[in-house]
């Protein structure tokens, strides 16, 4: 474990990234925006009228107790809810200036631009290299040199290259949980996304791997919008610029992270932060 961490710390070149400001807003360039989004599972109205904006270069955290609708909302942003039988999403989701929540939207192009990392590391039953090249190949990249470069760039981007460069053709399942999660991030990076959605990416990981992923998220936010659903409040306050609090299907409060955590306006948020419920 220690060697893995050492290697990781070595591979994250912090000078390139520069000091990142967290806790406050740093950009006003909107990358992705929702207007009055509602989600229904059959007859169950799971999320009500949620309007939020996500900014380039920023990390936005979505917090709230279990079942509050934050993950449901996250899965609406890349239209993954469409894969759930009986799920319906209404309202506008604006990406690149147009509403993507339409029947005609090309999901297969859209999801290249809006990537997603899941709660459980879910690499494919393939080699490390193939985990990265699989989707680009399906999307039409054939040139081996391009693919090789993509593998290296993505793995470097996910701070995994130094640990795996000598075993690219080994099974991804030979990696540790934290490494697998970074491989999943690398796989997403290969698609060159503008937005990356993280759905509780560290909840299955040990504390050291968790810090590694957080550090990575900070470096990935450059030129991108990052949105993370988390149960871990320290995590939200460590990495995010803005935070939205969800409760019982409502987006209750949204603001700069420092304000949300230190000067909450809504009583429910205040109760949540002080541990009245979780």
């Amino acid at each position: 474990m220690t060697t893995e961490t050492d290697q990781f710390l070595k591979s994250v070149d912090s000078s390139e990234r520069g000091p990142r400001v967290t806790g406050v807003a740093i950009s006003d360039e909107v990358m992705l925006e929702t207007k009055d989004v509602n989600v229904y599972y059959g007859d169950h109205h799971a999320l009500h009228d949620t309007s939020l904006a996500f900014h380039k270069d920023e990390i936005t955290a979505l917090i709230g107790p279990s079942g509050c609708g934050k993950s449901t909302f996250l899965r609406s942003l890349n239209l993954m809810n469409r894969e759930i039988k009986g799920c319906r999403v209404t309202g506008e989701i604006l990406y690149d200036g147009h509403n993507i929540n339409t029947k005609t939207e090309n999901l297969y192009e859209l999801r290249k631009s809006i990537g997603m990392v899941f709660q459980q590391p879910n690499p494919f039953h393939k080699s490390i290299r193939e985990n990265i090249t699989f989707a680009p190949k399906r999307h039409g990249v054939r040139d081996k040199a391009v693919l090789d470069q993509m593998v290296e760039e993505s793995l470097r981007g996910a701070a995994l290259w130094d640990e795996v460069k000598d075993k690219l053709d080994k099974s991804a399942f030979a990696l540790s949980g934290g490494q697998q999660q970074r491989l999943c991030i690398a796989r997403t990076l290969a698609m060159k996304p503008d937005v990356i959605l993280f759905d509780e990416p560290c909840s299955a990981l040990d504390p050291i791997s968790t810090l590694a992923i957080e550090d990575l998220m900070l470096s990935l936010a450059k030129d991108r919008a990052i949105i993370i659903v988390t149960h871990n409040m320290e995590q939200a306050s460590r990495v995010s610029n803005r935070t939205a609090f969800f409760y019982m299907g409502d987006m209750v409060e949204y603001g700069e992270t420092e304000q949300i955590f230190q000067r909450p306006k809504d009583k429910r948020l205040n109760d949540y932060l002080t541990g009245m419920f979780s």
Binding site: K85, Y108, R111, F118, N122, H125, K126, A135, R187, M191
Partner: protein, 309 residues
């Protein structure tokens, strides 16, 4: 006073429960032991009767003579495997398609329910009825006569439900996070199925296919009317004239599986051919046991290769 009575009653109840538990354990153990004893004694008896015959010179390599009462069973052995391969060639793609549809595509609703019920009904059809249907449909109506292809299609009819069920289960056991990962990278459902789900389900699919092969291999009733009760007297394995009745690979020639061979010779009751019946039975059983062992080995080896090295 009242207190000690309760305690006595409680103790009696505990005593009774424990005794019942011991009896249940004993009875269940006895049942399992009985089943084991039946299986083992059957296997040993058949092997004892038949293994000697397997080592008779020519038994495995010569064609049968005098209507099966003399010679070997080489053609029956070949026909059994050839029927199995033909059956798998037809039933595997159909079952795979059906299972993928039911697991990945089918909307929840009446159509899916009807399809599942139909598949289950097919699996409970008596094989002699399937054979009769195959005879009327393929042998008579299509004019294929007694032929390997008629037999293979009849076998397909009950192999499809078994295979579909096995593949369906294998696909359902692939964690949904694998699906999510693919779809979230902009791949279609078909790409997801073809390149991730089926490979991930492969160990279980292979195990299921080989196990079902064991069942198909030992089937007799469905073949009596479809592929017939005799192999040609002479087969030419080198011939590529697929229309010739003596070409081994001709799917329109009649053929006889090991199980049908047992039925035929035993039914004719010629006492001088009993050793051939036992030899065939032993061979058939050994083959089916091998299928079972093979399915486990292959499934485990594939799973190991995929999960880590």
């Amino acid at each position: 006073m009242g207190n000690s009575q309760t305690t006595a009653a409680q103790e009696a109840r505990i005593e009774r429960s424990m005794r019942n538990d011991r009896i249940a354990t004993g009875v269940l153990t006895a049942i399992v032991a009985l089943v084991m004893a039946i299986v083992v004694s059957m296997v040993l008896y058949i092997l004892a009767q038949g293994v000697g015959q397997l080592f008779q010179p020519g038994f495995l390599t010569e064609a049968s003579r005098a209507n099966g009462t003399e010679g070997g069973i080489a053609y029956q052995l070949f026909d059994s495997f050839y029927l199995l391969i033909l059956t798998l060639i037809i039933s595997l793609p159909i079952s795979l398609g059906g299972a993928v549809f039911l697991v990945e595509y089918a909307p929840e609703g009446p159509i899916t329910k009807i399809a599942s019920t139909a598949i289950e009904t097919l699996s409970s059809l008596p094989s002699i009825v399937v054979g009769m249907f195959g005879f009327l449909m393929f042998s008579v109506n299509f004019g294929w006569g007694y032929s390997l292809i008629s037999g293979a299609i009849a076998l397909t009819m009950f192999n499809i439900p078994i295979l579909t069920r096995v593949i369906q289960q294998a696909l359902e056991d692939v964690p949904s996070s694998q699906r999510d990962a693919c779809l979230a990278m902009g791949l279609t459902r078909w790409e997801t199925t073809l390149h991730v789900l089926i490979p991930a389900a492969m160990p279980a699919i292979v195990t299921g296919v080989v196990l079902s092969a064991g069942r198909v291999f030992g089937e007799a009733a469905a073949l009596l009317f479809t592929s017939g009760m005799s192999s040609p007297a002479r087969l030419n394995f080198l011939s590529l004239n697929f229309a010739s009745p003596t070409c081994a690979w001709n799917i329109f020639r009649p053929g006889e599986s090991l199980a049908v061979h047992i039925y035929k010779i035993y039914g004719e009751g010629s006492p001088e051919a009993q050793h051939i019946v036992w030899g065939t039975a032993a061979l058939l059983m050994i083959c089916v046991l091998l299928f079972n062992v093979l399915s486990r080995i292959a499934g485990k080896a594939l799973a190991r290769r995929m999960t880590a090295e």
